[in-house]
Amino acid sequence: MSAAGKGTSSTTGNRAELLPALKQELGKNGNLSKTVLTSLAGKTGLPLNEIYGVSTFYAYLPVLPAGKNVIRVCGCLPCDMKDARGVIGSIKKELGIEPGQTTGDAKFSLEQVGCIGACDQAPAMMINDRLFGNLTPARIAEILKSY
């Protein structure tokens, strides 16, 4: 929980802590499987379908198994203009997966996402929480090797 305090639970019930709780479970389990969501439903008293509905709304709350490292390549205009497609092509070649897929050894997932706020370093991608900017297709192999 944030060091900056809670202070809201009394007026709002458990629901306000749903997003932070989902993130916490994600951190522990790597994805939000049915088992994880069911146990969270038990803990919060919210129906499972509600919790499933919330998690599937957000891009960063995957309900399907994801790789240990999630690669998110920005496909928006400023990155697309600077050859984001070449970057994605290079990742596809290195890992043998398409966007939306996970490698057989579950080491990497690949996703093409909306703007990640690094347009001045286009093309850019994030691997987990780390940002990589000013990419070239040739740099990809080396970056992936470091994981």
Binding site: S2, A3, A4, G5, K6, G7, T8, T11, T12, N14, R15, A16, E17, L18, L19, P20, L22, K23, G53, V54, F57, Y58, A59, Y60, L61, G75, C76, L77, P78, D80, M81, V113, G114, C115, I116, G117, A118, C119, D120, Q121, A122, M126, D129, R130, L131
Partner: protein, 411 residues
Amino acid sequence: MAEKRIVMGNCGVIDPQDIETYLARGGFKALNKARDKMKPKAIVEEVRRSGLTGRGGAGFPCGLKWELAMNARAGRKYLICNADEGEVGTFKDKYLLSHDPFGLIEGMGIAGRAIGAQQAFIYLRAEYHFLYDALCGAIEQAKGKGFLKDMDIRVFEGAGSYICGEESALMNSIEGMRGESRYKPPYPPTSGLWGMPTIINNVETLMNVPHIINKGADWFSAMGTKRSKGTKVFSVSGDVARPGVYELEMGSSLKELVIDLAGAQDIKAVQIGGSTGNIIPARMIDTPLSHETCLGSGAVVVFNTQRDIVDIVHNNMHFLSEESCGKCTPCREGTEVMLEILGRLTRGEGASGDISKLEDLARAMALASLCGLGQAAAVPVLDSLKYFSQEYVDRIEQSMYLRSYIGSQLS
């Protein structure tokens, strides 16, 4: 005219992890003044007179918003800083949060006192998780110095959703729901988070506040144009030599920003305000940047003469259709149908009625969509049709030629 750094005045000067460096630059003077010498009403009046408007895109008068919340009677009131910067081409809030978190905290302290909020949130987009610890650290330091006695600030992290930058979707997200837009009215200053009066301001808006309290409304309103006061922080990207964040006085020309500062040399068009922003042809490069013309979040993406306008608009629409929350039909279906038409155009499968279909859809979406996403989704489509209609016509004619050629080969 050169840059005018007011909001960015401390960026690169202070140590964002050390409150002493902020204090040494006169930091928290404004909060002390607001707390010790000003009644909430006086604070709101100062902000209202300054003419400060929202910097997140909509440009709503900040003082008016605060006044509504201040006058609302309720047991609890909330302040939310919108740091869910998801607009395509925008990265100025990331820059501000990374370099001067204390400026934001001070602005929030003043806003909280003005409206009487006991609890505040900074809604931080998931993509900026790397800023989380630094922000919490800055809040702790401000607390340690006794600056946040009356209000608690909590950093609340988003989970990857563009629409959560829309204020009602953002509140739903904090409440633990899907980030879908709400019907309006009621508006947040009367009924917002958990039905309580709530103020939602962008990072940059709040960071203007300490300067207004320190130097006064008259100083602030002397800068800018009639309806756009102060400065604006712009994010410039695309075909420029020096992409980055620049702060200019409101009303400065597009030329100053993209040519003089960012070093663009070959310009076909510029998109201002992100994925739903206006597209302006190079011949209008002297356009002043203000709410009266076009501004949005201050995202400026430059396209050189090699770029294809239909491809640009298609990429925009792809993003918007992905990020539409799906609650209202005009936006959910409208963006999809536009994407389908634009996709056909880019693939050489255009048809003769495509332009009028796009125009019809644009009207319906602007009229009937629930929130800004759907209402403005067609802005780049309409602008590109206005200034670059020949490119659409060419695409359609090429498509028809291709089909007739293939047809003749087959028969």
